[in-house]
């Protein structure tokens, strides 16, 4: 679960790329080239602006596991039993359903360490808070209620003094009708004195009854005070630490492996608005979903555990739709890191409706297929990476004084019944197979029966199994593909090789002098001349180039290379430069051809070769080649630097060596990245 080697390689790629950027910014030849070439300057600027912030920090083999589910599906109860220490400290509240909308981030800390008691509160930035208010449905509701919102540069002012609240609601209001929401200037480390302050913790985590609520400030950061209503809107997450004692009891994991696991308790999705949110009722109604979406969109989650109460329906489709719309995440990739955890397996026997389905043998059809897998996505059935069943001691045994049930005894009875579901003649077996559950179900039952596990341990084990199985793929996709690191390395390399030779020498002067000589005829209006030149010398011959190659393997790439040769020949034939100049141009174009073939997709494209009856692919390729031949001429015509500046420039040996290192680093980065992708079957 540690993937040291893989992580080292990934970080090496990242470091090579980032160091290359740093070096480039200090390299005199590169600075001069940027000053003299608009094309280089713009391309480099574009590339740099696409470098994500994430690449400035080393990749970690940390896996963030989020528990996502609707309110009332028992998410916090389960977490309570997995993290009893945090529950005891009051951070995991289960006695109320009205919790505030923020995520709890639970990381590992050795029990005796200093950080075990550390708690930090983080806020959203102003843009994110603004987005709560500028969502269409919120705007509409606020307007309807005549709640005035003013959007200032660093705060939002919400004024409900003229709002149309019902009198009975107004009577319950505890906070002023005018609220200013300001993001924290920095995160708030909870002082030691307040770590066990129940009132403080409750103010942060739950929406108290009006009678118990105080409108006083809960905390103060720099000069700004925040009451609990304001905190509900501005707080993004709370970081907590735990010794993972229960998990240690279930799995033998090293300290380092435990340190790689981070659990995130997300707020319940699909919650409805609460009058307790007073003047902020409309924006806070959508906040829970926004918190989860934020985590997903920002790629902060590696594994998603979707918890659904047995017999209950999944509301995941709400997130799915929003995620699709955000466009920031591949939904196909999401499934491979998704676990569905069905909570409350006892309900198959305790709930009358479910018990009836159990008798009829279609209980998986209803509880898994219809209620969850077919409901999770608006695009049809979802097949998660894993499905498991779990339960909570509190629910099975009941809570309170009159609790009389014993978990183990109850499950001893259920176990016999559940095992029958795997029998050859059981109708439930078909569903177990369909849901790819048959293999793990027996172990899952064993775990459920075990009062110290309750399927919770099994869930954690499944998470670990998933990480072990898919960890490398997840890490590669997350760090190499989704950050676009590999593509950035490749693009930077391609860009530099237009101006430098492999040994780091600025080659563009000679090349461009040669190109300029060849392009003398293009001088008046190069853009129009490009079209005219191609129409006169190239377009008519493209078909022949394709036909020569179409019966060969890699006919698309070969056709392209053949056209490039044609272009070079025709260009030199027309310009008639001296032999040495012609040779430089030829060498340069030869070098670039392979790069273009790759970057423009000729090397990877698969089109069926043309046949006697169907010349479509030839026609299509003809179109691409026509366009790209013009593009080549355009690049040659416009990537010229100001030669007078370049002429006086003498590249130092140090400059050359640094550039050689950069080019070597980038080549290695691309090579290593591509080989990782090949090794783990990830599409680059």
């Amino acid at each position: 679960m540690l993937f040291h080697e893989l992580l080292r390689t990934l970080n090496a790629i990242r470091e090579r790329f980032m160091t290359s950027l740093e070096r480039l910014d200090e390299l005199p030849s590169f600075a001069l080239l940027q000053n003299t070439s608009d094309d280089l300057r713009e391309s480099y600027f574009n590339l740099k602006s696409e470098v994500p912030q994430k690449l400035s920090q080393a990749f970690e083999s940390r896996f963030v596991i989020a528990i996502v589910g609707s309110s009332g599906h028992g998410k916090t109860t389960i977490l309570n039993e997995i993290f009893p220490h945090l529950a005891k400290r009051g951070w995991l509240v289960t006695d109320v359903t009205d919790t505030t909308s923020q995520s709890l981030r639970i990381a590992y800390a050795p029990p005796a360490s200093d950080s075990i008691d550390k708690v930090e509160v983080h806020s959203w930035d102003i843009d994110r808070i603004k987005s709560l208010f500028s969502a269409d449905e919120v705007k509409l509701q606020n307007e309807k209620d005549q709640i005035q919102v003013l959007y200032h540069e660093d705060s939002i002012e919400v004024d409900g003094t003229n709002a149309l609240f019902q009198k009975k609601d107004l009577k319950q209001f505890k906070f002023p009708l005018k609220q200013t929401l300001t993001p924290f200037p920095h995160s708030y480390p909870v002082p030691a004195a307040r770590l066990n302050d129940a009132e403080f913790i409750r103010a942060l985590t739950i929406k108290e009854q009006s009678s118990k609520l105080k409108a006083d400030p809960v905390l103060r950061i720099d000069h700004t005070e925040y009451n609990s209503l304001q905190l509900r809107a501005v707080v993004k997450n709370i970081s907590l630490y735990d010794g993972f004692e229960t998990i240690k009891g279930w799995l033998r994991l090293s300290e380092e492996e435990l340190g790689n696991l981070v659990f995130v308790d997300t707020p319940g999705i699909a919650v409805s608005g609460s009058i307790k949110d007073e003047v902020l009722r409309h924006p806070l109604e959508i906040k829970s979903n926004q918190v989860v979406l934020d985590l997903l969109e920002n790629d902060e989650l590696d594994i998603l555990v979707h918890m659904v109460l047995c017999g209950g329906q999944s509301d995941f489709a709400i997130l799915w739709k929003a995620l699709e719309k955000s466009g920031k995440i591949s939904m196909d990739h999401l499934c491979e890191r998704l676990i569905v955890a069905v909570n409350g397996a006892n309900l198959y026997f305790e709930n009358d409706d479910l018990a009836r389905h159990v008798k009829e043998g279609d209980h998986f059809q209803v509880t898994l297929e219809e209620n969850i897998l077919q409901k999770m996505s608006p695009r049809g059935r979802v097949q998660p990476a894993c499905i498991c069943f779990l339960d909570s001691k509190r629910h099975v045994e009941g809570s309170g004084f009159f609790s009389s049930k014993n978990y183990e005894k109850v499950y001893a009875q259920y176990k016999t019944e559940m095992e029958k579901w795997m029998d050859e003649d059981s109708p439930a077996r078909r569903h177990l197979i369909h849901c790819r559950l048959l293999e793990t179900f027996a172990k899952n039952i064993e775990a459920l029966k075990d009062a110290s596990d309750r399927g919770q341990g099994f869930l954690i084990q499944q998470i670990v199994v998933l990480i072990e199985r898919n960890g490398p793929v997840l890490l590669i996709k997350k760090n190499l593909i989704r950050t676009t690191l590999l593509s950035l390395c490749d693009r930077l390399l391609q860009l530099l090789t237009r101006y430098y030779s492999d040994n780091g020498e600025v080659n563009c002067y000679a090349t461009q002098r040669a190109v300029q000589e060849v392009f003398q005829g293009f001088a008046e209006d190069p853009l129009e001349t490009i079209g005219n030149f191609c129409e006169d010398y190239i377009d008519g011959q493209i078909d022949a180039c394709i036909r020569r190659c179409e019966n060969q393997t890699n006919w698309i790439e070969r056709s392209f290379l053949s056209c490039c040769s044609l272009l070079t020949d025709e260009l030199l034939k027309t310009a008639k430069p001296p032999d040495d100049v012609a040779q430089i141009v030829r060498n340069y174009l030869d070098q670039q051809m392979a790069r273009w073939a790759r970057t423009w997709g000729y090397a990877a494209a698969r089109l069926s070769p043309p046949s006697a009856n169907n010349g479509r692919s030839r026609f299509l390729l003809h179109h691409s080649l026509q366009t790209h031949m013009r593009e080549i001429l355009y690049q040659l015509a416009t990537s010229q630097t100001s030669l007078s500046d370049m002429q006086s420039f003498q590249q130092t040996e140090e400059d050359r060596e640094i550039m050689q290192t950069i080019l070597t680093d980038l080549k290695e980065a691309v090579r290593d990245g591509e080989s990782l992708c090949t090794q783990y079957g990830v599409a680059p």
């Binding site: 853009l527 079209g531 423009w600 494209a605």
Partner: protein, 798 residues
């Protein structure tokens, strides 16, 4: 009473369905075969028809209905009083045929199971009666017809409309554009199918019953253009879409209005222009359904009945939400009232505003490209579309120059091939702008130059303005309309010629004489010929020069000219480049973009090479060989909307716009160089929305709010705050995005939203008014086509 009745058992039935518009059946067969009887009935028919010759409806039908006027025919005979059901008898060498007409929207024409005889009846000798039932018209229930479920997709353009009926579950290619039959088209035989597919949007009223319960007869398309020349006083809308605009109560007084007058009949007073837009839409829907039911207007019974499950519309990029809602609501209301709905299938027809027009164009381009390249060559496709650096996303700038407005949109696209080989295409709009200058502006410039030429050569001084009193009383509105139509036709000719040829366009002597003989007839001597100097010759270079001169000016009160589209493009291109996301490709769509100068101007403005600034025709070499797609710029919006909605395994997912401002927004001041920003409230990159408080407006003054790409660049007005009081007022506004301003506080201050890209909704609409080069007077002649030298045939300038 004795009667000699020929039983209607023999008569053939014309079966129609209610709510299928005006149903025509030409050449309907009769049972009459005997020569004697033919003669008898023919004579009787003529006699009866003569009795109705003065009926209002009959008079209209005689001149305007789409039947063959060259055949030997009786006049029109009403089947019954007060019902719009008529027939006429036509005679061939051996038989009698009928032309039938029934309005299925009212009265007898919409009564299920109603049977209406086409009866010839004559009383003889007092009580004796002879009657022949030549045909019956039967109103069948919809449920009995072969229903075909599907979606109606409509691109309602300023100058033309294209529509598709896409059967539910059909193949993607099963979507040919409907060639709309216009029932009031006496020249139907000579209309090209292409003209029916690309139905001109203009609307003209034909018959206006005084009874408000009866809807008028409305003519659309080319027949409407023909009609207005003959009947210049009819209510006529040249580009109806320009009148689709939400007018809040406080601005209602500014809503344009006109008379309500047909060839026959009128209603009192002035009526909002939008009322006629609604009538046009109603007529459009009816004609579409009528065409689907009875495609050649010769079917004896319905070929099928389209069970419309939804109507899908596109809209201009920068229509405000309220304008979109108004447009959508209009279709909803009309569909609810006039389209039959199978309640077992749906409650009511949903109207979907599927995507904006430039997005539809981009969707069309992408769908067609992805379709042909396939999932295994998408990188090649992307680079062919200009993404030559291998970036993750493709950015496409669409410049759609339509008939009356131009849309610019930049969409950022990426795609993902899923495990099932489906392709999810995600779209995000990153910039958008609209101009009220488009193809009609170029016509306006050309018409001004032509008119100027005619004035000088033939010493014509009369104004073509419909409202101007002529010195020569014979130069009536009808003459003026004819002249304008002819001038516009010549302008079109010039544009087409300059699009296709490098040679200058020469005004043919015959064309010149034709205009003299028609529109300008009362103003020139009868024997005037055009065979003397000078001649009108226009080359590409001169035309390009004119376009370049057409920019925003103080004189035009800051209204942009055609060239401002490209100045905006330049600023946009620079901004996108500075933000690290220059467009990879610029797609030129709309007929006007076929002019080579448009490509050149776009190339210059965007600083991009020609092969990355292309028309759809140039970008889709395989598509244009498919039947119906030969002119992709004509169908790209409707076909793109179709792909957007029913893309099969290529699925389009629109992403919400970015929540940041892309422009500087602030108050606006006038400078000699045009409008510029004064106090800036929001800058590019700031998150939306922003509130501006304590904004002071001087007594009796306006404060204009505008946006621009550069702080010191040209600004476009987006809203005007007016203080009508004599006290200074303090207001608070919200800037909701680059185009939308909301007034929060401000007693008595009013906010008027402006349409960016030109607020004058009827800019260049000289066709409706006759006001050529009137805004301001002679601006085009003085500023744009100045120094124009007409030439001799040998090319020597005069």
């Amino acid at each position: 009473m004795k009667s000699n009745t020929v039983s209607n058992q023999k008569a053939y039935q014309f079966i129609v369905l209610p709510y299928t518009g005006l149903q025509i059946c030409r050449g309907f067969p009769t049972y009459i075969k005997e020569e004697k009887e033919i003669e008898k009935i023919w004579n009787l028919g003529k006699k009866i028809a003569a009795r109705h010759a003065q009926d209002e409806a009959v008079q209209i039908l005689c001149k305007h209905i789409a039947v063959n006027c060259e055949v030997d025919a009786t006049g029109w005979i009403p089947c019954s009083h007060e019902e719009d059901v008529f027939f006429r008898i036509t005679r061939t060498a051996t038989s009698l045929l009928l032309d039938l007409l029934i309005d299925t929207r009212h009265g007898a024409g919409k009564q299920y199971k109603n049977k209406i005889p086409c009866l010839l009846e004559e009383k003889r000798f007092g009580l004796m009666r002879t009657s022949y039932t030549l045909a019956t018209i039967f109103i069948e229930e919809h449920g009995e017809a072969s229903g075909k479920r599907g979606t109606l997709l409509i691109d309602y353009g300023n100058s033309a409309i294209t529509s598709i009926f896409y059967p539910t579950g059909g193949k993607t290619f099963e979507n040919t554009v409907i060639p709309v039959n216009e029932p009031f088209d006496p020249n139907y035989k000579t209309r090209a199918v292409e003209g029916k597919r690309l139905l001109r949007s203009n609307v003209c009223l034909l018959r206006v019953p005084t009874n408000p319960d009866y809807e008028p007869w409305v003519v659309l398309g080319e027949p409407a253009a023909d009609l207005i020349i003959k009947e210049p006083l009819c209510t006529y809308l040249f580009a109806p879409k320009k009148y689709v605009r939400h007018w809040p109560e406080r601005l209602k007084a500014q809503e344009p209005s006109t008379t309500y007058r047909g060839v026959m009949g009128q209603r009192d007073g002035l009526h909002p222009m939008f009322r006629f837009v609604e009538l046009g839409i109603k007529q459009l829907l009816e004609s579409l359904i009528s065409t689907l039911v009875n495609p050649s207007e010769t079917s004896l019974s319905p070929e099928m009945y389209p069970l419309i499950e939804r109507i899908t519309l596109t809209y201009p990029q920068t229509w405000r939400e309220c304008d979109r809602e108004k447009f959508c609501e209009t279709f909803r209301k009309i569909a609810q009232e006039y389209i039959y709905v199978d309640k077992k299938l749906i409650g009511e027809i949903p109207i979907e505003m599927i995507c904006s027009e430039p997005v539809a164009v981009a969707a069309y381009l992408l769908w067609e490209s992805i379709f042909y390249y396939g999932p295994d060559a998408l990188k090649l496709m992307s680079s062919t579309l200009g993404n030559v650096d291998g970036e993750e996303t493709l950015r496409i700038l669409v410049l759609d120059i339509g008939g009356g407005s131009s849309d610019i949109a930049v969409v950022q696209v990426n795609w993902e091939v899923t495990n099932a080989n489906d392709i999810d295409v995600r779209f995000r709009m990153i910039e958008a702008m609209r101009f009220n200058r488009a193809g009609d502006r170029l016509n306006h410039i050309l018409v001004t130059a032509l008119l100027d030429y005619f004035r000088k050569k033939y010493e014509i001084e009369e104004s073509l303005d419909f409202e101007a009193e002529p010195n020569n009383l014979a130069f009536t509105i009808s003459e003026k309309r004819t002249a304008i139509t002819k001038l516009n036709e010549l302008a079109e000719q010039a544009k087409v010629h300059l699009s296709q040829s490098e040679q200058p366009w020469l005004l043919e002597q015959s064309e010149e004489e034709s205009l003299l003989a028609q529109g300008f007839r009362p103003l020139v001597k009868k024997e005037t010929t055009a065979d003397h100097l000078p001649f009108f010759e226009l080359d590409r270079k001169t035309f390009a020069e004119w376009i370049r001169r057409d920019t925003q000016a103080i004189e035009t009160n800051g209204e942009p000219g055609f060239m401002d589209i490209f100045l905006f493009l330049r600023d946009l291109g620079q901004t996108l480049k500075a933000n690290g996301r220059p467009p990879h490709l610029a797609v030129l769509s709309g007929r006007t973009t076929r002019l080579p100068i448009i490509q050149k101007l776009a190339v210059e403005a965007l600083d991009m090479p020609y092969h990355r600034v292309r028309t759809l025709q140039q970008l889709l070499p395989l598509t244009i060989h498919r039947p119906g797609h030969e002119n992709p710029d004509k169908i790209s919006v409707v076909a793109g909307a179709h792909r957007f909605r029913f893309g099969d395994n290529i699925r389009f997912i629109p992403l919400p716009g970015e929540k940041v401002f892309n422009r500087h927004i602030g108050s606006v001041r006038e400078t000699p160089d045009g409008l510029k920003l004064n106090q800036v409230f929001a800058n590019p990159g700031d998150s939306i929305p922003i509130s501006v408080t304590s904004l002071k407006i001087a007594p009796l003054k306006d404060l204009r709010i505008g946006h621009s790409f550069r702080k010191d660049g040209l600004a476009q007005v987006i809203a005007v705050l007016s203080n009508p009081t004599t006290d200074e007022k303090e207001v608070s506004i919200d800037l909701l995005d680059d185009f939308t301003v909301k007034l929060n506080h401000g007693d008595e201050v009013t906010l008027a939203e402006w349409i960016p890209g030109g607020n004058d909704i009827i800019a260049d609409n000289f066709f409706d008014t006759g006001k050529i080069d009137a805004n301001p007077k002679d601006f085009i002649a003085r500023t744009i086509v100045r120094d124009f030298n007409t030439v001799t045939r040998s090319g020597v300038e005069i």
